[in-house]
């Protein structure tokens, strides 16, 4: 590629004008204007549900705008489906990965673009060539299910490149990556930018936006608020543009940690279902009353398994789990809940809610043996409804009533309901997995507040989060998890996300704030 710098006079790569998109009950986009210059990295920011993904899906032909026009390279276009967009040189890496687990990397990449180089050896060569020139190395023959998150992301980008896209949409690509992986990604992006690619980049992480973007457009409640030069604004200013008000912070002020041990995990081990591979190995952990213990780790290093083993959803291979003095190791999930554990699962749709059931039925889930949801073997419908109303009030769940199905609520409100439910019945321990993942700032602030309040009352909290700011802000102690082991302790008072990130990837401690644990 010869011309690598964006020329101001060249036609913009993409111009969206007057885009409006309505869903039943929601206007996702309303008169959105966006201009992306060729060769730049253009960031798109906005709260949850602001309409970013919708806008991008429209640009990618997955959804049709109700109003508005799209221009690509100066020519007006109409995309009826993604194939049209692909033809026009637009590619998209989705917020939720769009990969078929049971197909190989190569199959995933060539799918839909078989006409280019077939599906056999030739395609393989092309993929390998692409991978080499961009640094996105991954074995084309391996099944996607065997890949980690970062590799999957590489596959996603390869998919787009393979189709010859010149304008690449990245919808929250960094959400699942640790800082080091983010850096790697950015390096790749810059190199590709040199080669003439244009990027549309969505992220909630404003530091990243400022680090990579050449310009940034902010969307609020479905409409564009304005475009800024990221080098010229602070993250705070950006955030306030997004929200239209001041930012909350996860910080906890004074420590409320007591001596009373609530949760004690001893030498916990878990073996993968299919074989003898250890997924958890020798986990020792203590959480005290009034303490928040945070677990940091790259996704897939055993955090999910740890939580599910403590909850009794998986059978530990060895080791013990004690709540107070009581040994829970042989109990089932329900008994553990009854013993006083509240559990905010990492995926509210899959694990937290019965989506088609009304809110009050969801209130019963996990409490089906206890007041106020049940009396003995019988359900107490009136009690459940009454308590649901309480949660709706106390946790500011925005809903027209408690009889609507859970699916009708937005993600943030669903999460508030789940947190409210898990904090009912006076638990002594709360296990919270990504409690504010994908939740907008308002809801996030409320959930943080509630966790802090409960902690002040003496609740012990085990917090798992990929959001390192949240983790550092909320925790009293941080443990780093790597390959099924707890490998380091970090002090939230002094540790930075970068330090934590390097410990999480196993690059070793780079700061005094992270102390490696003996044993490995």
């Amino acid at each position: 590629m010869s011309t690598s710098t964006p020329a101001a006079d060249a036609a913009p790569a993409v111009v969206l004008s007057g885009i409006t998109k309505r869903f039943p009950g929601v206007v996702a986009n309303s008169d959105v204007h966006l201009t992306v210059r060729a060769g730049e990295v253009h960031a798109l920011c906005g709260e949850n549900g602001a309409g970013k993904s919708t806008l991008m899906k429209i640009l990618y032909g997955m959804q049709q705008p109700d109003e508005g026009t799209i221009e690509v390279g100066g020519r007006p276009v109409r995309f009826r489906n993604p194939a049209d967009a692909i033809k026009a040189g637009i590619g998209m890496v989705h917020q939720h990965f769009m990969l078929a687990d049971n197909l190989t990397v190569q199959e995933n990449v060539v799918l839909g673009a078989e006409a280019l180089h077939g599906i056999g050896g030739r395609a393989r060569k092309v993929i390998q060539g692409l991978a080499k020139s961009t640094g996105l190395t991954v074995d084309p023959g391996v099944l996607v299910e065997r890949l980690g998150v970062a590799d999957r992301q590489r596959v996603e980008i390869l998919k787009v490149l393979y189709r010859g896209a010149k304008v690449i949409i990245l919808d929250e690509p960094t959400a699942v990556l640790v800082p080091q992986e983010v850096d790697e990604l950015f390096t790749t992006l810059r190199a590709m930018q040199e080669q003439g690619y244009t990027f549309l980049f969505i992220s909630h992480k404003l530091d990243e936006v400022r680090a990579i973007a050449d310009s940034v457009t902010v969307i609020r409640r479905g409409t564009t608020v304005g475009t800024a030069d990221p080098k010229a604004v602070s993250s705070r200013q950006l955030a306030e543009m997004m929200v239209g008000s001041e930012l909350p912070s996860p910080e906890t002020r004074e420590s409320t940690v007591t001596d009373r041990v609530v949760l004690r995990v001893e030498d916990l081990g878990l073996v993968a279902e299919e074989g003898t591979r250890p997924v958890l190995d020798g986990i020792d952990l203590v959480v005290r009353s009034g303490e928040v213990v945070g677990i940091a780790g790259v996704e897939g290093n055993g955090q999910t398994e740890l939580v599910e083993t403590i909850m009794g959803m998986r059978r530990a291979h060895h080791g013990r789990v004690l709540l107070g003095d009581r040994d829970l190791s042989r109990l089932g999930t329900l008994a553990r809940r009854e013993a006083g554990i509240g559990y905010v699962p990492e995926d509210r749709h899959r694990q937290g809610l019965l989506l088609t059931q009304p809110l009050w039925v969801n209130r019963i889930l996990g409490h089906q043996t206890r007041e106020p949801a049940a009396k003995g073997l019988w359900l107490d419908l009136a009690g459940a409804k009454r308590d649901t109303r309480r949660i709706v009030d106390e946790f500011d769940v925005r809903t027209p009533g408690i009889d609507v199905p859970a699916a009708a609520l937005s993600g943030g409100n669903q999460q508030k309901l789940v947190v409210g439910r898990e904090l009912s019945g006076d638990p002594v321990l709360l296990i919270a997995s990504h409690p504010t993942r994908g939740v907008d700032v308002g809801a996030q602030a409320l959930i943080w507040d509630e966790i802090k309040r409960a902690r002040a009352r003496g609740l012990a909290v085990l917090l798992i989060s990929a959001d390192l700011d949240e983790l550092i802000g909320l925790s009293d102690t941080i443990k780093v998890m790597l390959r099924g082991r707890l490998v380091a302790d970090a002090d939230p008072a002094s540790v930075t996300p970068e330090d934590l990130g390097s410990a999480m990837t196993g690059a070793g401690a780079t700061s005094a704030a992270v102390a490696e644990l003996e044993g490995e």
Binding site: I86, L99, L111, A175, R277, V298
Partner: protein
């Protein structure tokens, strides 16, 4: 939900670096499996002195009985690889039998085949409309199609066959295909088989069964198995089709026309099930269409497909197993069945040794108990009551599934209703 993988808790943990995929290629598994089965059978046949286990006739019977099941299973494969569960195979098969008879008695076996495919495809189309366009639960639609298929064919038979055959439940006789044998080879194998040499004669018997008296239908079915493999795994169309069964949202986002592929797959599925019906009608022993003729073979086909792990080679194995067990019990009954029990004991012994090597004491103990129990059965009985042997294929399927089913893996989006947008 916004930042996670599609299925966080099912995401593989990358804890130790992903094991280097030491995958044994599918064809090798197949070859080893077949070889193992032959060894097991010839050993059993030798030790129990029951040559029928590997005789030419038994194998031929097995092939004939397996054929309709195999085709139904293939039909299931096509639909389920595209993510549509097809419990309506039975109904589509019934429609196929009717179509085959209707065209067959007028224009001969090839026309029968075509008509059967068309009638089956019609059932498939109905299933596709319901499940793909209307998003109806796949099982519901399948059950309805089974009812419809049965009702429709009965109704049509009274209208159309009755005036000709004077029997509302039967079509006029349908001409059959000629059968073919490999000259020379067949005789040579026959001589080998007759010599009753351990192992060699067994293999000869099995091979001879496969090359003697072969109907074009059998060749077609085998071609369809191979063809299905090639189409589904070696072409872009197949890749797209399978992607609809694994992750339709992703497929759609890459420009794959998911609805169209699902439609095509389910229609093909119906056509294959229909051909399965034709295989029944065109079987030399059959007069033509006969009410109740399919007798649950569509369901068995579905089972064979699941048994075969949603793979063409696997379902071939499943259908063969069922056909073999059924053939054996039909041809020789209780005594041979006992020989099979003996074979099962041998198989269990091998498994026990293997588990002992792997230090799986519990599994090994279970195996020993089962083996001893089976041996006791073998030892104490002269002949298994015929009431029980009739369903030997069902029992065998159940047992094999219990042993092997944990390795099975359905397409990820199988049975999931997909809606565009």
């Amino acid at each position: 939900m916004s930042t996670s993988l599609m299925n966080p808790s099912e995401a593989p943990s990358t804890v130790p670096p992903p094991r280097k995929a030491r995958r044994v290629p599918g064809w090798l598994v197949g070859v080893l499996g077949v070889a193992g089965a032959v060894v097991l059978l010839s050993t059993t046949s030798y030790l129990t002195d029951v040559p029928q286990l590997t005789s030419t006739g038994t194998i031929q019977t097995a092939v004939r009985l397996a054929l309709p099941i195999l085709l139904a299973a293939l039909g299931g494969l096509w639909a389920e690889r595209a993510g549509v569960v097809n419990i309506g195979l039975e109904g589509m098969m019934i429609m196929g039998t009717w179509g085959a008879a209707w065209a067959g008695y007028q224009w001969g076996p090839w026309a029968a085949l075509l008509a059967a495919a068309a009638f089956g495809a019609l059932g498939g189309l109905l299933h596709a409309i319901a499940t793909v366009s209307f998003g109806v639960n796949h099982i519901v639609s399948g059950v309805a199609i089974n009812l419809l298929g049965a009702g429709l064919t009965k109704y049509l038979s009274t209208l159309i066959f009755f005036p000709v055959s004077h029997n509302p439940r039967e079509s006029p006789a349908v001409p059959k295909f000629d059968t073919y044998s490999a000259p020379g080879l067949s005789e040579w194998l026959g001589e080998l088989e007759a010599q009753q040499r351990v192992g060699l004669s067994d293999v000869a018997g099995i091979l001879r069964g496969l090359v003697t008296g072969v109907s074009p239908l059998t060749m077609l079915a085998i071609a369809l198995v191979v063809g299905s493999y090639l189409v589904l795994w070696r072409t872009r169309f197949g890749l797209r089709l399978r992607s609809c069964g694994e992750n339709p949202v992703a497929a759609e986002s890459l420009g794959v026309h998911v609805y169209r592929h699902k439609y095509l797959a389910v229609i093909a599925s119906g056509a294959l099930a229909g051909i399965g019906g034709a295989a029944l009608v065109l079987n030399p022993g059959q007069p033509g269409y006969l009410e109740g003729q399919t007798n649950g073979r569509g369901f068995i086909g579905l089972a064979a497909m699941i048994f075969g792990n949603w793979r063409p080679g696997g379902l071939l194995g499943g259908a063969a197993l069922f056909g073999y067990a059924d053939g054996l019990q039909l041809r020789s009954g209780g005594k041979t069945f006992l020989a099979l029990v003996y074979g099962a004991v041998l198989l269990l012994a091998v498994i026990v040794v293997w588990q002992l090597v792997r230090r799986r004491w519990f599994a090994a103990a279970g195996g020993i108990v089962a083996a001893v129990a089976l041996y006791a059965v073998y030892y104490s009985l002269d002949e298994v009551p015929s009431e029980l042997t009739t369903y030997a294929p069902h029992l065998v399927t159940l047992i094999v599934l219990a042993v092997a089913s944990q390795r099975l893996r359905a397409p990820a989006a199988d049975g999931v209703v997909y809606r565009r947008g």
